[in-house]
């Protein structure tokens, strides 16, 4: 048979079955739309997240150092020819107005700062335009404390600067542990005029980059490596991308990114299962035609080639429609839930994305239609004589070949979606195991049904059990497809509800709006009283001590740091920076010990370290850390590691010492308090007169920004989850319906034998429900297992799964299977007994 004949045959096969073909194409389109739709939404949300996190940093990449940054660094960013650079310098300094003076954080910026987000000024204006060499913009709390107003002249470094505006909001990280005072903005020229740069010991230098090529995390990691290798003593540089900038949302961003990846992968399963089941139903309806072809002398492989060509043609049409429809999904979401997508997000029709969706769709359609198409091999030519002839066994090579093709195709598609080899391999392996479990479960069910002493069962139940026991009617295929559908829906529901619950709970609705720096130990009670009188809620305070790390396990950090250059860039910086240590007998509520035990060793001074920070430091349980506390070395042993929910905005520290160990070292107290805006101003005034050394820092603006990001993340997770679940339900219904073979004749016969309509419904319902029960049990169990792995291991959220929902999901599947099966047979159920006479 020549290729042309195959094509011609395929074409002929398409004629004369118009409505069925339309249905097939529609179903294929649905499967592909699921893939492209989810993939498009994932892309859109990812873009939105990038836009959000850029706003928080004000740039794509920030390079920070304690001394002027080597001009060579810019060369490493040459990969983006369109890059733009802004500069900033920060230093704590005294700002005076009349007789009053205050420690403030001076920030000198170039006119193009920031690239993303906006510095909100009062009166309104752009910082770059408002400021000149002679002026400054200050935080309202500073103006308040000094008693100055816009237009007044402040003294910085002994030079006069007119207050041009108040700073209501600025993009940037909230790193309260390192903030020394309220903000003052000047221009770079203004800074030069102050002469402060000469004493540059406390000056922080920053180069901020806008990179239109928006490099991904891998590119940023490469950049860090290149800088480390290319610049001598690179330890002084700290390179950050917008993804790492905001500790309060960093973890949520990471979790949501993993989640998006999971959804994209699951959409492949959904689409694939949908396609496979539709092809199965379609092939089943063409059996008679295949038998005739076989009688006329066509070899199985020729028939297969013909049908494969046929499916390919249909897949192309269906996938094109599906890819087009799917690419509407983000636009639809943008239309109905516009506030989900942040300001930086632009909807665009990307031909590349469309093409990728099309390729993915056609690929998945072809790959997943192979196993059901092998049924062509099994059609006996004798079927032209008798319709109830047993199917022939498929050659082993064909069965295994089809399975291998699916595994390979799935792996390739997963790789395309996740862009990670290990993830794709793990995903494919997990699905292969699940497919095996489902097939085994279905076989076991068939066996069991064959051996149940059916004579003792009631006739309705018996017919259901008998239907399962009958060999070769596709129970295995239906169970596998149904099980995968259940897997996707249950997994999605579990992960989505847990993740969005966490994101909602993480919303810092009662987070502090003002931090009070430099409270002296003997002022602790009076400041607390003062704040409480102002109506403060959630007042908390902790002792803070500043120290440098001297040695790890007896080896000086000066000796350790250079060796770190080979590894991650951050670690060096972490070793050298000024460390802030607190101490308390119990952990704050947003902390969780994940290794070791808190204050468990009476012999040594103990230290509890935040888990990620411990990794950066390169220390673990049992390691000894010595700190230089104002010239005195104090050594601690790490006895516990903990995780911190930074999203809570509470006062949290990477390093926490055993209570009592540092009481006598010179330290200050950091307080956090939540106040209404009016009370904030009043507290500031009170503090200015009764405790002028205390510096209040307002964080309301950034708090609200983080709040907005987190609630958008939660909403995005929810929308995407519901979209996937909905698509899953549609496909599941399709699977359940298409596995319920049209039973018109059987209904007519059963009615002829005296079964009422209710009786037929019961009988069929039980049969479909039993398949659903097995598929549901295995699929839901797998979903719980995968959800546990994902929540516990991938996003480290702690998998508190609603295990009671496992039997519920199983029963729901049985019910859904029964309902869909019956719905698919509505016409059949209406068959009239007279039809049994028509042979």
């Amino acid at each position: 048979m020549k290729a042309l004949d195959v094509l011609r045959g395929a074409w002929r096969e398409s004629r004369g079955s118009g409505p069925r073909l339309l249905f097939f194409i529609a179903c294929l389109a649905l499967g592909v739309a699921a893939i492209t739709g989810v993939s498009g939404l994932v892309d859109a949300i990812e873009q939105a997240l990038v836009a959000q996190s850029r706003e928080l940093l004000g740039a794509d990449v920030s390079i920070q150092a304690r001394r002027p940054i080597d001009a060579k660094v810019d060369e490493f960013l040459a990969f983006d020819a369109q890059r733009e650079r802004a500069q900033a310098r920060e230093t704590p300094t005294l700002v005076a107005f009349g007789q009053r003076s205050k420690l403030a954080e001076l920030k000198a910026v170039s006119a193009n700062f920031p690239f993303y987000g906006r510095i909100v000024l009062e009166p309104d204006g752009r910082l770059g335009e408002v400021l000149d060499e002679q002026s400054c913009a200050v935080a309202p709390e500073l103006a308040n404390e000094l008693g100055a107003r816009v237009g007044d002249e402040l003294s910085i470094g002994g030079k006069p600067y007119r207050i041009a505006a108040l700073v209501r909001d600025e993009p940037g990280r909230l790193d309260i542990g390192f903030t020394l005072g309220p903000r003052v903005f000047v221009t770079l020229e203004g800074l030069a005029r102050s002469g402060l740069e000469q004493f540059g010991s406390r000056m922080r230098y920053r180069e901020l980059y806008r990179l239109p090529s928006s490099p991904d995390e891998r590119r940023i990691a490469q950049l860090k490596r290149e800088v480390n290798e290319g610049i001598e003593d690179a330890a002084y540089l700290r390179i950050e991308s917008h993804r790492e900038a905001q500790p309060t949302v960093r973890r949520s961003l990471r979790q949501v990114e993993s989640y998006l990846g999971l959804v994209a992968l699951l959409s492949l399963v959904l689409g694939g299962v949908g396609v496979a089941q539709i092809v199965r139903a379609w092939v089943a309806s063409r059996t008679q035609a295949v038998a005739v072809l076989r009688v006329l002398g066509a070899r199985p492989r020729e028939v297969l080639a013909m049908y494969l060509t046929h499916v390919a043609l249909l897949a192309l049409v269906g996938s094109s429609l599906g890819a087009l429809a799917g690419s509407f999904a983000p636009h639809l979401v943008a239309r109905i839930a516009a506030d989900l997508l942040p300001s930086g997000f632009e909807l665009s029709w990307s031909p590349l994305a469309l093409l990728r969706g099309l390729g993915l769709g056609v690929g998945i359609a072809l790959v997943f239609s192979t196993p059901p198409l092998t049924a062509v091999w099994r059609v006996s030519p004798a079927r032209v004589l008798r319709t109830d002839i047993e199917p022939l066994p498929a050659p082993r090579a064909v069965a295994w070949g089809a399975a291998a093709l699916v595994a390979l195709g799935l792996f390739a598609a997963a790789w395309t979606q996740s862009r990670e080899l290990t993830v794709a391999a793990g995903f494919t392996a997990a699905l292969a195991v699940l497919a095996g479990a489902l097939a085994l479960g279905a076989r076991a069910l068939t066996r069991l049904a064959a051996h149940v002493p059916r004579e003792r069962l009631n006739p309705y139940l018996r017919n259901g059990v008998a239907a399962l026991a009958r060999p070769g009617i596709g129970v295995v295929g239906a169970t596998v497809a149904l099980g995968f559908g259940v897997l996707v829906i249950t997994l999605m529901a579990l992960v989505e509800s847990r993740l969005s619950e966490r994101l909602r709970n993480a919303l810092p609705t009662d987070a502090p709006s003002v931090f009070l720096l430099d409270v002296q130990p003997d002022q602790r009670e009076s400041v607390r009283e003062l704040a409480t009188r102002q109506g403060a809620v959630n007042y908390s305070d902790v002792p803070v001590l500043t120290a440098r790390l001297a040695s790890i396990n007896g080896v000086s950090v000066r000796d350790i740091a250079p060796g770190r250059a080979e590894a991650k860039g951050r670690e060096q910086w972490v070793l050298m920076r000024e460390q802030r240590i607190t101490w308390a007998s119990t952990l704050p509520a947003d902390n969780r010990v994940v290794a070791g035990e808190l204050w468990s060793d009476p012999q040594r001074l103990e230290l509890s370290v935040e888990k990620d920070f411990a990794e950066d430091l390169g220390v673990g349980l049992g390691d000894r850390l010595a700190f230089d506390v104002q010239g005195v070395e104090i050594e601690f042993a790490v006895t516990s590691l903990r995780t911190v929910e930074w999203e809570s905005f509470g006062i949290n520290f990477f390093l926490m010492a055993e209570p009592g160990s540092l009481d006598h070292a010179p330290h200050s107290v950091l307080a956090a308090v939540r106040l209404e805006p009016a009370q904030e101003a009043s507290l500031q005034r009170e503090l200015a007169s009764s405790a002028p050394n205390v510096t209040p820092i307002g964080v309301r603006a950034i708090l609200e920004k983080v709040l907005a990001v987190l609630s958008k993340l939660a909403a995005a997770v929810r929308v995407l989850g519901l979209f996937t679940i909905l698509t899953g339900l549609v496909i599941l219904a399709g699977v359940a319906s298409s596995s319920a073979v049209h039973r018109g004749r059987e209904v007519a016969l059963l009615k002829t034998l005296g079964l009422t309509r209710a009786g037929v419904v019961t009988l069929f319902g039980i049969e479909f429900a039993l398949v659903g029960l097995v598929a549901g049990a295995i699929g839901a169990t797998a979903a719980f297992a995968l959800a546990w792995v994902f929540l516990e291991r991938v996003v480290e959220l702690g998998a508190e799964l609603p295990w009671a929902a496992l039997p519920a999901a199983t029963l729901a599947t049985a019910l859904a299977s029964a309902l869909c099966g019956l719905a698919a047979n509505l016409r059949a159920l209406a068959s009239r007994p007279i039809e049994s006479l028509r042979g």
């Binding site: 017919n463 004749r745 079964l755 309509r757 049994s836 042979g839």
Partner: protein, 231 residues
């Protein structure tokens, strides 16, 4: 006073829509069949035999006219009422056997017995399969049986609940001559043993010979009626 006929129809008419026009398939057929009678309905293709059978058995509804089973009208009953009626009183044998492929031979026979609430149904089912010579094949699926064997299972199934009337629609139509003869023999045997009223539809006069009465249909009307076994 004569006994109430087992099955009776009066002015039975059935029209079917056909190309925008009403096609009269059965035209005012009057018929009366007494209890225990073996009656054959004969006629060429399109004469209305199967339609008549479907109506008499309550599988279909007439356009006009009445059908009475044991003196009770059945033409005005609902689908479910008819189902219950068939369950209690009517048996069927089809040309294409119509066994349920999911069920074994025994289970096929059991189904109507249980629906009719027959006590000791398994024993009765086995006995019937024994009588049709399939005692050793009770656990075979229809696809594992030959055509003749399948039709024998269908016979056992039909006679199981001791129906008042048994309808057979070309029961040997799909079988070779020898097998067909054996099925017919069995049918007659069972009919006599169970005292069932038997209505057989065929186009083959050699089969109709076995009946006590032969009703010839032509173009939807009763053409003539022959009495007496002509074997």
């Amino acid at each position: 006073m004569t006994a109430v006929p087992r099955l009776e129809c009066i002015a039975l008419t059935r029209t079917l829509p056909s190309g925008g026009q009403a096609l009269t398939v059965l035209d005012h057929v009057d018929l009366s069949i007494s209890a225990g009678e073996f009656c054959a309905i004969l006629g060429p293709s399109g004469s209305g035999k199967s339609t008549l059978l479907g109506l008499l058995a309550g599988l279909d509804r007439p356009t006009s006219g009445e059908i009475l089973l044991d003196g009770e009208r059945i033409d005005d009953k609902s689908e479910d009422q008819l189902s219950l009626l068939r369950r209690a009183k009517v048996g069927f044998v089809f040309q294409s056997f119509q066994l349920l492929g999911n069920l074994t031979a025994l289970e096929n026979v059991l189904l109507p017995l249980e629906l009719a609430g027959v006590r000791a149904a398994p024993a009765r089912a086995r006995e019937l399969l024994e009588q049709v010579g399939l005692g050793a094949r009770t656990h075979h699926y229809p696809s594992q049986l030959s055509g003749g064997e399948q039709q024998r299972v269908a016979l056992a199934r039909a006679f199981g609940p001791r129906p008042s009337v048994l309808f057979a629609d070309e029961p040997t139509g799909n079988l070779d001559a020898a097998t067909g003869a054996r099925i017919l023999e069995l049918l007659s045997e069972l009919h006599q043993r169970e005292q069932t009223t038997l209505v057989l539809v065929t186009h083959d006069p050699s089969i109709a010979r076995h009946a006590q009465r032969r009703i010839h249909l032509r173009a939807g009307r009763v053409e003539r009626i022959e009495e007496g076994v002509s074997v």
